[in-house]
């Protein structure tokens, strides 16, 4: 894992001191709310429905045990005993007091964490594949790239007041697990014909009220040119992006309005004008960063663990969890374990402080002290010996963390929705809970297979509903919560925006409608097709009838 050097540490401490002073000036009236709001947002402090909310950056979703324990401490001392992992792999606390935030930031700085640029019109926390360094199909670990971008973009003077927020995601594998095509910039590490490593650069993806899939503007960018090229992209956006209308200010609108080819040409022209060598990182610094992400010292293990096989044979629940929640590790004898934060009936992504400590202990004992947070609001133990899986699972069972549903229909992404969020137009969590209860039966979930349900409580789409196989969008209709259902979204390299099935439904009708959609799939699937494959083949029509039935059913 990356460790702060003296410059990083001083930078973060200075920022805490600065914010402490800004809070004091707000409280004594020297700053009014309009002046203070952009400052608090730059430090991750929102005002939500019931209280302030603090958003803590978890760069590229990687956490150490020590950091997670500190989050547990903060949650107990300054919050209500729990936190919430978001689709941007951040942690949010829902109940901090503004007066306590400087002290919380100090506690975060103690463990090399911060809330800088988790909000505001700047380059946000950079996300990456949660199986970075694990996946066998990986060309290169994306995290050194993500860390390099974090350092370059932190308080970048030119890009501190962009037209709107700006999100970058990186993947180093053939499979995209970081939803890169729904980001302002998506970077895919790849090799060219000569075997050199570089990036495919995609720009202009995003969800929200105008969902767009990112377009490739450079099919191969040599690795050492990254920062200068990103600087060119950001500069074109900063100059050409719209500032007259916040709903049209994202780079996706610019790319859409002028076209990817024109955008690409502008970037290349800017790139030709830039003094590239003055911008790109010193190779020594790149090497210093990369060294922190070197593989841990794995044991030489047989590919097949007798203890693991015996455990599965003796314990059906463990075998199911292993079949559903484990991911193949590139090193023989190891596995990456997804720990679902989607226990039936719980709020997706919520984790108690006691659970945080259990996870931290497990990571310390079994996974080289390392955890990952996924955009699907789950936790990963990235490098565990298969011999240890049964013991890990037993601990997870005791902590209420052994739900075997990774990638299944109850592994639902949901934003906090109107239960917490002041922007929301409807609640998300109760819909997720109702669906999880409806599909709780393990056998049925396994029979349905891979199915991503994603729920947002407003058009800002924090719950990624546009790229859900089934997407649910909560809106307000005539003073009541109303839920639109979309179908056919895809968050992978085959990225697609789901299409609306029809008018919105009342909350109580959503589980029935989803169940009927699943029934249509089960009735029509061929030769082991997954849900999304069936939807692609069948089109929307067979599913649309479900919404009409619900709308016209007698009350």
């Amino acid at each position: 894992m990356y460790r702060y050097d003296e410059f990083d540490a001083r930078f973060v401490r200075e920022r805490v001191a600065q914010f402490r002073d800004q809070v004091a000036r707000r409280l004594d009236g020297a700053l009014n709310e309009d002046e203070f709001k952009p400052l608090r947002l730059k430090n991750g402090v929102y005002l939500q429905l019931h209280a302030y909310m603090l958003r803590i950056a978890i760069p590229y979703g990687t956490l150490s045990s020590r950091q997670l324990r500190q989050l547990a401490l903060i949650g107990e001392k300054y919050d209500r005993g729990y936190g919430h992992f978001t689709t941007r792999t951040n942690m949010q606390f829902n109940w901090p007091r503004l007066r306590d935030v400087p002290a919380i930031l100090d506690l975060l700085a103690d463990v090399e964490m911060h809330c800088i640029q988790t909000s505001g019109n700047c380059i946000r926390n950079v996300t990456a594949d949660h199986f970075a360094g694990v996946a066998a199909d990986e060309i290169e670990d994306p995290r050194p790239t993500a860390e390099l971008i974090r350092q370059w973009s932190s308080l970048h003077p030119e890009f501190d007041y962009l037209p709107r927020k700006f999100k970058i995601a990186v993947t180093g594998s053939a499979q995209d697990r970081a939803v890169i095509k729904a980001h302002d910039i998506g970077l895919r590490i790849l090799r060219n014909a000569k075997g050199e490593i570089g990036y495919e650069v995609m720009v202009g993806g995003g969800l929200g009220r105008t969902p767009m899939i990112a377009k490739t503007i450079r099919s191969f960018l040599p690795k050492d040119e990254l920062l200068a090229y990103l600087e060119s992209v950001l500069r074109v956006y900063n100059l050409e992006g719209r500032r007259d209308n916040k709903y049209k200010a994202r780079v996706k609108i610019l790319v859409h309005e002028i076209g990817a080819e024109t955008f690409s040409r502008l970037v290349e022209e800017e790139y030709a004008r830039l003094d590239g060598p003055s911008i790109v990182a010193d190779p020594e610094e790149v090497a210093r960063i990369a060294a922190y992400f070197a593989s841990p010292h794995y044991e030489k293990l047989p590919a097949r663990s007798a203890a693991f096989e015996k455990g599965k044979a003796k314990n059906r629940a463990f075998a199911t969890w292993a079949a559903v929640n484990l991911f193949a590790h590139k090193i023989p004898g190891y596995a990456a374990a997804t720990i679902s934060l989607k226990a039936i009936g719980e709020a997706p992504g919520d984790v108690t402080c006691a659970q945080m400590r259990v996870l931290a202990d497990l990571a310390q004992q079994y996974s080289f002290d390392e955890l990952r947070i996924t955009h699907a609001q789950n936790v990963v133990l990235p490098h565990v010996e298969q011999d240890d899986l049964l013991a890990i699972w037993q601990t997870l069972v005791e902590a209420g963390l052994a739900t075997a549903n990774a990638g299944l229909i109850t592994d639902i992404i949901a934003c906090p929705g109107l239960d917490y969020c002041s922007l929301a137009t409807a609640r998300s969590i109760p819909i997720a809970q109702a669906l999880a209860h409806r599909f709780a039966d393990q056998k049925r979930q396994l029979d349905i297979g891979e199915l991503n349900v994603k729920i947002s409580g407003c058009i800002n789409a924090c719950g990624h509903h546009h790229v859900g196989h089934i997407g649910i969008l909560g809106l307000e209709k005539s003073g009541k919560e109303s839920y639109q259902i979309t179908l056919g979204g895809d968050a992978t390299l085959n990225a697609a925006i789901g299409e609306n099935l029809g008018p919105g439904l009342a909350a109580q009708d959503v589980p029935d409608a989803i169940e009927r959609i699943v029934d249509v799939y089960l009735a029509h699937r061929q030769n082991g097709e997954s849900f999304i494959e069936s939807v692609r083949r069948l089109g929307l029509e067979p599913f649309k009838a479900v919404i009409q039935e619900k709308l016209h059913a007698p009350a």
Binding site: L27, L47, L49, H50, L418, I429
Partner: protein, 113 residues
């Protein structure tokens, strides 16, 4: 920060406490975290008075996000927001009945700071 367009009567005035974020209600004398203590304005004059209080409290850096909320009256004459958003705001998360005002948990000292 401006006060939102006036909703239909009767109305109450709510805001978030600047220091602690807690949802607070104007009682006619002070800001209280208890919705039951909210002063209910039944006519335009009363509503204008609440708007004036909102402007004063915002200017004094006592609260943020102050606005009027239209309410109906329950059997005991207490104010209940008509809109589901404001109802959740005055109670707490519907998915965590153990948190927020509905559970008697306040993020603020009962009588100010």
């Amino acid at each position: 920060m401006s006060v939102a367009k006036r909703p239909p009567l009767p109305v109450i005035l709510l805001a978030n406490d600047l220091l602690d974020g807690e949802v607070v209600f104007w009682t006619g004398k002070q800001w209280s975290p208890e919705p039951i203590e909210a002063l209910i304005a039944h006519n335009e004059t009363g509503a204008s008075g609440l708007e004036a209080e909102a402007a004063k409290a915002l200017a004094a850096n006592r609260v943020v996000d102050a606005y009027l909320v239209d309410v109906s009256l329950d059997a005991s004459g207490g104010a209940v927001p008509r809109h589901y958003r404001e109802k959740i705001k005055t109670e707490g998360p519907s998915v965590r009945r153990d948190l927020g005002k509905q559970a008697g948990l306040f993020n603020i000292a009962r009588n100010g700071n």
